[in-house]
C-alpha cells in the first residue's frame, strides 16, 4: 500500500521530500563534524605546548618564559568567591519564590528580572561592574570586583535550578512538618533545604562552566595582570583569568602557542564539566525514581 502510494506521488512532492531529508542529514552531519573538528583541532594544537613548567610557573621576562600558574589560581579564586556569594543569594531567592511568595506582582517582578539578567550580554556586565564595583565602591580593578560582577551574572542560573529541585519536594512533606508543629523556618530548614541539594549542585556546575568561559565581563573588572599571591592578597589585586590570559596572549602579544595551550586546557575543563553535569543529572533522576 505504502509503496503503491509512493509510486503515484507527483514529482514535486518527491523532490520536496528528498530535499528535506537530504537537508536534515547534511545539517546534522555538519554540526557533529564541526564540533568534532573544533575539539580535535584545539587539542592537537594545544596539548604539545603544555608542560609541567608551563603549568607551574609565572611568566618571567628575565628567562623569557611564559607560565600560567597565576592565571590558573586567579580562575580558581574567582570561581570559589563567586560560588560562595551566589549560592546563598540564589537559594534564598528560590526559597522565597516557592515557599513564601504570595503576592503575584512580586513573583512576576522577580521572574522578569531573572529573565532579563540572563539575557544581558557579558560586556554590559563588565561595564556596569567596572562603574559600580571598581569605581563607586572603590574596589579598584580586582578579582573581588570581577567575582561580584559574575555573581550578578550567575544568580538567575542558581535560582532557576534550585527552584526546579524545590518543585520536586512533595507538598505532603511540608504539610507533615507543619502539622507536627514545626514553625515555617524549621520546616524549611529540615524539609525544604535538604531537598534542594540537587538543584544547588546542578546550579554550581552550570555556573562553574559559565565562569570558566567568561572573558568580556572580567576584562575591565578583574584586569589582566599575572601577579601571584595567596587568595586574600589576590582578591584585592588585579589578575587575569585563563580566558582573559588567552585573549591577551593571542590578540595583543601574538603568542599563539600559549593561547592554544590555554585553549586546550579550557577545552578539557569544558569536557569535564559537561560530563559531570550529565552524570549528576542522571544520578538525581535515578534517585528520584526510587
Amino acid at each position: 500500500m505504502n509503496t503503491n502510494l509512493k509510486g503515484k506521488m507527483k514529482i514535486g512532492r518527491k523532490v520536496y521530500i528528498g530535499l528535506m531529508k537530504f537537508g536534515m542529514l547534511l545539517c546534522t552531519a555538519l554540526v557533529a563534524t564541526l564540533t568534532l573538528f573544533l575539539i580535535v583541532y584545539i587539542l592537537i594544537k594545544g596539548i604539545p605546548n603544555i608542560s609541567w613548567e608551563f603549568l607551574s610557573t609565572k611568566p618571567s621576562y628575565l628567562s623569557d618564559r611564559i607560565g600560567i600558574l597565576p592565571d590558573i589560581l586567579n580562575t580558581l579564586y574567582i570561581v570559589i568567591t563567586t560560588l560562595i556569594i551566589v549560592i546563598p543569594l540564589g537559594v534564598g531567592a528560590a526559597i522565597y519564590l516557592t515557599e513564601y511568595a504570595n503576592n503575584k506582582k512580586i513573583v512576576a517582578a522577580i521572574e522578569f528580572a531573572a529573565e532579563t539578567l540572563s539575557g544581558i550580554p557579558s560586556i554590559i556586565y563588565g561595564l556596569v561592574g567596572m562603574l559600580f564595583f571598581c569605581q563607586f565602591m572603590g574596589l579598584k580593578t580586582s578579582l573581588i570586583a570581577g567575582s561580584l560582577t559574575l555573581v550578578i551574572m550567575n544568580l538567575p542560573n542558581v535560582m532557576r535550578t534550585t527552584q526546579e529541585s524545590l518543585k520536586t519536594v512533595p507538598q505532603s512533606y511540608r504539610e507533615g512538618a507543619l502539622g507536627l508543629g514545626a514553625g515555617k523556618w524549621r520546616m524549611i530548614r529540615t524539609v525544604v533545604l535538604p531537598g534542594c541539594v540537587d538543584g544547588v549542585i546542578t546550579g554550581c556546575i552550570l555556573s562553574i562552566g559559565r565562569i570558566l568561559g567568561e572573558s568580556a565581563a572580567l576584562l575591565f573588572t578583574a584586569g589582566f595582570a599575572h601577579a601571584m599571591g595567596n587568595m586574600f592578597e589576590a582578591l584585592t589585586s588585579p589578575g587575569a583569568s585563563l580566558t582573559v590570559a588567552l585573549y591577551v596572549y593571542a590578540k595583543e602579544q601574538g603568542e599563539f602557542e600559549v593561547a592554544f595551550a590555554i585553549a586546550a586546557i579550557l577545552m578539557i575543563l569544558t569536557l569535564i564539566i559537561n560530563l559531570s553535569a550529565t552524570m549528576v543529572q542522571k544520578h538525581f533522576e535515578k534517585r528520584r525514581k526510587v
Binding site: 502510494l5 509512493k6 512532492r13 520536496y16 521530500i17 528535506m20 537537508g23 536534515m24 542529514l25 555538519l30 554540526v31 564540533t35 568534532l36 573544533l38 546563598p88 543569594l89 534564598g92 526559597i95 522565597y96 513564601y100 512580586i106 522577580i110 528580572a113 531573572a114 529573565e115 532579563t116 539578567l117 539575557g119 544581558i120 550580554p121 560586556i123 554590559i124 556586565y125 563588565g126 561595564l127 556596569v128 562603574l131 559600580f132 544568580l155 538567575p156 514553625g183 515555617k184 570558566l212 567568561e214 572573558s215 568580556a216 576584562l219 575591565f220 580566558t243 582573559v244 588567552l246 585573549y247 593571542a250 590578540k251 599563539f256 593561547a259 579550557l266 569544558t270 559537561n274 550529565t278
Partner: protein, 287 residues
C-alpha cells in the same frame, strides 16, 4: 509565642530581601547605564550620535557617530541568523523526529559541548583558520572582516537555536502527527508541514534567542572582525557595538569614555527589545 511569631516574620523578611535582590540588580544595571550614558548623548546630540556616519574621537574636530557600529551589529546578526538558523533548525527537526536514540544522544552531547566552549576559544580558532583563509580565497588585503565575524557568530548561536527548537518540537502532540500520517502524508511531509507549524512559537523564540546571543557577543567578534570603525561591508574590517565599547575602554577618558557608555546604553536598549520579544514568544509557547 509572640517571640516565635517575630522570629518567623524576620526570617520571612530576610527571604523577601533575597528574592528582591534580582530586581535590585536589574535596576542597578539599568540606572547605571542610563545615568552614565545620557550625558554624552546630550552633549553630542542624539541625531549626530545615532546617525553620524563617522567615529573619530581623537581627531582635532572629534566625530562621535555610531551609525557604523549599529549597522555592523545589525548586518552581522542578520548574517549569522541567515546561516545559523536554517542549519540549526534542520538539525533540530532531525534530532527531535528522525534520529534514533543513540544518534540523538551523541549529537546532543556535541551541541552541549559547542555551547560550553568559551567565546575566546572561538575567537582564537577564527583568527587562525577563518581569517587567513578568507584572505586567500577572496584575495583581500586583510581577512579580518565582517564575513569572518558572521561565520563565527553563526556557529556560536547554533546550540541555542538547536536546543530551544528541539524542546518545542518534542512538545508537539503525537496525535497531530498520527493524524497527518493517517491522511497519507509521508513522515518527512508530516514533520515539516504539521510538526514545525505546531512548534512555531518555540522556533521563533529560538531565533530571537539567537539574535540576542549574536548581538551581545564581544570577545570572539573582537578577535576576527579587524576592529576598524568602517561602514559595514562583507570584506572589510568592521567594529560592532560590543567591540566599540571594549576596544577603547582601556585608554579613553572624558567625552570619549562617556560616549562609550552611551554606546553600551544603545546596546542595552537593543537587548531589552529582544528580551521583550523573546518573552512574548515563550509565553505563547507555554499556552
Amino acid at each position: 509565642m509572640k517571640k516565635k511569631r517575630l522570629f518567623e516574620n524576620i526570617v520571612h523578611g530576610i527571604f523577601l530581601i533575597l528574592g528582591l535582590i534580582t530586581v535590585g540588580f536589574v535596576l542597578l544595571i539599568t540606572i547605571y547605564l542610563i545615568v552614565s550614558g545620557i550625558p554624552a548623548i546630550n552633549e553630542i546630540g542624539i541625531i549626530d550620535f545615532l546617525f553620524g556616519a563617522e567615529w573619530a574621537p581623537t581627531k582635532s574636530e572629534p566625530q562621535y557617530g555610531i551609525l557604523p557600529f549599529i549597522l555592523t551589529s545589525v548586518y552581522g546578526t542578520a548574517g549569522a541568523i541567515l546561516i545559523g538558523v536554517p542549519i540549526g533548525f534542520m538539525t533540530a527537526v532531525y534530532l527531535s523526529k528522525v534520529a534514533n536514540k543513540k544518534v540523538r544522544a551523541m549529537v546532543e552531547t556535541a551541541v552541549n559541548l559547542l555551547a560550553g566552549i568559551p567565546s575566546v576559544v572561538y575567537g582564537l580558532v577564527g583568527m587562525l583558520i577563518l581569517v587567513p583563509n578568507i584572505k586567500k580565497i577572496f584575495d583581500i588585503p586583510d581577512g579580518a572582516s565582517l564575513l569572518a565575524a558572521i561565520i563565527v557568530l553563526a556557529i556560536m548561536i547554533l546550540p541555542s537555536i538547536i536546543k530551544v527548537s528541539i524542546t518545542s518540537l518534542d512538545a508537539v502532540p503525537k496525535e497531530y502527527e498520527d493524524a497527518s500520517l493517517a491522511l497519507g502524508a509521508t513522515e518527512t511531509e508530516t514533520f515539516f508541514k504539521v510538526s514545525v507549524p505546531a512548534a512555531k512559537s518555540g522556533i521563533a523564540a529560538a531565533v530571537v534567542l539567537g539574535v540576542g546571543r549574536a548581538i551581545g557577543e564581544a570577545m570572539a567578534v573582537m578577535m576576527v572582525s579587524g576592529n576598524v570603525a568602517n561602514m559595514p561591508s562583507l570584506f572589510e574590517s568592521v567594529r560592532f557595538l560590543t567591540t566599540a565599547v571594549s576596544s577603547e575602554m582601556a585608554y579613553s577618558s572624558g567625552l570619549q569614555q562617556q560616549a562609550l557608555f552611551s554606546i553600551a546604553l544603545v546596546l542595552f536598549l537593543f537587548i531589552m527589545l529582544i528580551n521583550v520579544t523573546l518573552n512574548f514568544f515563550l509565553k505563547k509557547e507555554r499556552k
